[in-house]
């Protein structure tokens, strides 16, 4: 990259860069020591159980059995709503930048066969994960991640859409989480319970409703993020520029 004539100069520049990064390393090591000391103080500050006891004590009223799920979809449900919005924003940002690049070469029969049973397994596990999240480790995020993983595998196996439906449907799936969350929250507010304040009797079912919507939205969003572009209108007709930009020569298997 560098021309021979520039070598002397670039050597000096490189040396300077190394000095700078060393200096930074020393300074940041100092920062690290300070942070460690401060963290030690903070740990011993006497706040000890923090929110643990209170959060655990309220679990029976939250409508779910798993304390982490209780925090996510009940005590701090509002955070989760905004977080779904973040995920949506990322996908919209990605879509605004480019059409979906072409996928990988269609995989060999063996791999395709494997995909054909791994993917349903992932989807079933995702459903199980969602259900079990009520009282054991799991929940909407893990379930959504599994759905997203299924999409990644499908795309790696050669389907450029990652198994996602067409754009119009995909858009609804993407916003399903935010929409359901906000609508349930607002409905509760209009009924007088307060925004995202679940009545104890309905809590379990409302949470399941929201979590199911969130799972689908998260799965769709993660798969769409992996596709990395706006879904093309019909089938896949990547533009000439795109096709030459990313030849489909790389696949899961060895290069031809």
């Amino acid at each position: 990259m560098t021309e021979p004539a520039d070598w002397a100069r670039s050597d000096r520049a490189r040396e300077r860069a190394r000095d700078l990064s060393l200096l930074l390393a020393v300074l940041l090591a100092l920062l690290g020591v300070v942070l460690l000391a401060v963290y030690f103080l903070a740990l011993n500050g006497g706040a000890a159980p923090r929110l643990a006891e209170l959060a655990l004590a309220r679990v029976p009223q939250s409508g779910v059995g798993n304390p982490v799920t209780a925090v996510l979809v009940n005590y701090r449900a509002y955070d989760t709503l905004v977080e779904l919005a973040v995920l949506l924003a990322a996908v919209l940002g990605i879509w605004s930048q480019r059409p979906a690049p072409p996928g990988f070469q269609r995989s060999s029969a063996v791999l395709a066969g494997m995909v054909s049973w791994v993917v349903p397994l992932l989807i079933v596990t995702s459903g199980y994960m969602l259900w079990v999240g009520g009282y054991a480790p799991g929940g909407a995020f893990q379930a959504g991640a599994l759905l997203g993983a299924a999409g990644v595998i499908v795309r790696l196996a050669g389907d450029p859409t990652a198994g996602l439906p067409g754009e119009a449907v995909q858009r609804w799936l993407l916003v399903l989480g935010v929409l359901m969350f906000a609508l349930v929250g607002l409905a509760l507010m209009l009924l007088g319970a307060g925004f995202l304040t679940y009545p104890p009797k309905l809590a379990k079912w409302l949470i399941l409703l929201i979590e199911s919507a969130a799972t689908i939205a998260i799965g769709t969003a993660l798969a769409a993020a992996y596709v990395g572009g706006r879904p093309s209108a019909k089938g896949q007709g990547p533009s000439a520029g795109e096709a030459s930009a990313a030849p489909s020569s790389s696949s899961l298997g060895p290069r031809p």
């Binding site: 500050g45 973040v86 940002g93 609804w172 929409l179």
Partner: protein, 491 residues
């Protein structure tokens, strides 16, 4: 307590734009009417909230019906409402302008949902009462802002906004570590409760100070405080005009608001004069450097972007004055002046950017030296630039005139006269760069036939600039009353 109609607008300010974003995503063909509808609804929710707070004092809402430490709280005091009102009015203006701005339907479809998400993040940030919720809002704001800024897809825009995204992420991670330390030390995330814990427990000074440094430096990076401003000019100058307006007038302001909030509410017991002085010195450097670079800028939008660096700087000059002024009318004056300057800049800069965008689409470029005749072709737009410019300088009767006046008065009264030099230098440089633009725009050509050529695009810019100059300057009295409405608990 929970079926209280009073607090509904608090929730609506955030959920309405979220719903709008969801619907404009799902129904891209109707993005414009749905988007405008959501914009109007959100803005009315904000105005209703303003009226509620005006009549009943600061509002507070704990979501979910749990104990405040366990749940997330929303709160609206005078400061939050003042900024939220400004942001929502400006955002409405930007929405009207944007509805006619994008020619490419694909870009139009991409704009609306991202824009409404950004709006939700802004309102969420102003009204948040929870440290971690603020982090999520900051991330939503950063991601939507970068995505919108890169919307044109030009090389400069994408690379500048990629840098902005990375810098913003760095800032929010630093902020989050501060939050983690505070949670470790005080065991809660609620702003008011943490503030009380900080005030009550001075054994943990070191922890609180470290959290303060981590959070404020992360936010200063996002607020483009000198010398962390390097990412701002290219990112703001290369975005589409309505986005530039939002980035410069609102997004940066949100981080500044958060710094002020943390500084005055949360960390009030531990923020000393020295720390305030340090930030003010950076602010002073920003005023001088930003104004100087604005004067040297060759493009109109770059000029506006550098001017933002300078205008953000002014806001930090207030911190050491507030530190030495005891509670009372002089302190109220300073706080009101600070907010007044932030509001004026919000209106003026958005008006400026919208007008600059029109100049750019009309002339095909925004090189300042070749702007001759703009006043003839786009008289209303040139007038908007002139109005916004006079607010940026701080000419009477603009809001920033009062703001700067009170700032200088406070500086002299508290013996920190050197800030007066900074303010006058900044104002002189500002008048130089504004008149440079105007002198190019007014060529020696016949007077125009029509004042307004494209109402949907020109009127928002004109109105926003007009608010900055006239309304905020001549009718700033209510601001004092509004700011006196403080939330209980924290402050």
């Amino acid at each position: 307590m929970y079926s209280n109609l009073l607090t509904d607008p608090l929730v609506l300010c955030i959920t309405l734009p979220l719903l709008g974003a969801a619907l404009t995503t799902a129904l891209p063909r109707h993005a414009v009417p749905l988007g405008i509808l959501a914009a109007l609804a959100t803005c009315s929710a904000a105005v209703t909230l303003g009226v509620d707070v005006w009549q009943h004092g600061a509002l507070r809402l704990v979501l979910g019906g749990w104990e405040p430490e366990l749940a997330i709280g929303l709160r609206a005091d005078g400061l939050a409402v003042a900024l939220a009102l400004m942001a929502n009015l400006v955002a409405l203006g930007i929405s009207v302008y944007a509805s006619g701005y994008f020619r490419d339907p694909e870009r139009m479809r991409a704009f609306w949902p991202l824009w409404l998400l950004l709006w939700a993040a802004l309102n969420g940030l102003f009204l948040a009462g929870d440290l971690f919720n603020l982090y999520v809002m900051l991330e939503l704001l950063g991601i939507t802002a970068a995505a919108l800024g890169a919307l044109t897809g030009s090389r400069e825009a994408v690379s500048a906004n990629l840098r902005y995204l990375l810098v913003g992420l760095l800032g929010s991670i630093s902020y989050l570590l501060g939050v983690a330390l505070l949670y470790t030390a005080h065991g809660t995330l609620d702003l008011g409760l943490v503030a009380r814990a900080i005030a009550a427990n001075d054994r943990l000074f070191a922890v609180d100070a470290a959290a303060l440094v981590l959070m404020v430096s992360g936010l200063a990076l996002k607020a483009a405080l000198f010398p962390l401003h390097f990412w701002l000019p290219p990112a703001h100058a290369n975005a589409p005009a309505p986005v530039s307006a939002a980035l410069s007038a609102l997004v940066v302001k949100a981080s500044v608001y958060l710094i002020i909030r943390l500084w005055l509410d949360l960390f009030a017991p531990i923020t000393g004069l020295a720390a305030a002085m340090f930030l003010a010195l950076l602010g002073a450097a920003a005023v001088v450097w930003g104004s100087w670079r604005a004067l040297r800028a060759e493009r109109l939008k770059l000029l506006a972007a550098y001017s933002t660096v300078a205008q953000i700087g002014y806001l930090f000059l207030f911190l050491p004055l507030l530190a030495v002024t005891p509670p009372g009318p002089p302190r109220d004056n300073l706080l009101a002046a600070l907010v007044l300057m932030a509001l004026t800049h919000g209106f003026a800069k958005s008006g400026f950017f919208l007008a600059a965008g029109l100049v750019q689409t009309n002339a095909g470029h925004d090189r300042i030296d070749d702007l001759g005749g703009t006043a003839q072709r786009l008289p209303a737009t040139t007038f908007a630039i002139a109005l916004a410019g006079s607010a940026l300088i701080g000419l009477p009767p603009s809001g920033s005139f009062i703001g700067k006046w009170l700032l200088m008065q406070g500086a002299i009264e508290s013996g920190q006269w050197w800030w007066v030099i900074v303010v006058t230098t900044g104002s002189l440089l500002a008048s130089a760069y504004v008149f440079r633009v105007l002198s190019r725009a007014f060529g020696l050509e016949p007077t125009p036939l029509k004042f307004v050529t494209d109402a949907r695009a020109e009127v928002p810019a004109l109105l926003l600039s007009l608010v900055a100059v006239a309304l905020l300057g001549l009718a700033s009295g209510p601001l004092w009353t509004l700011l006196a409405l403080r939330a209980g608990g924290g402050a």
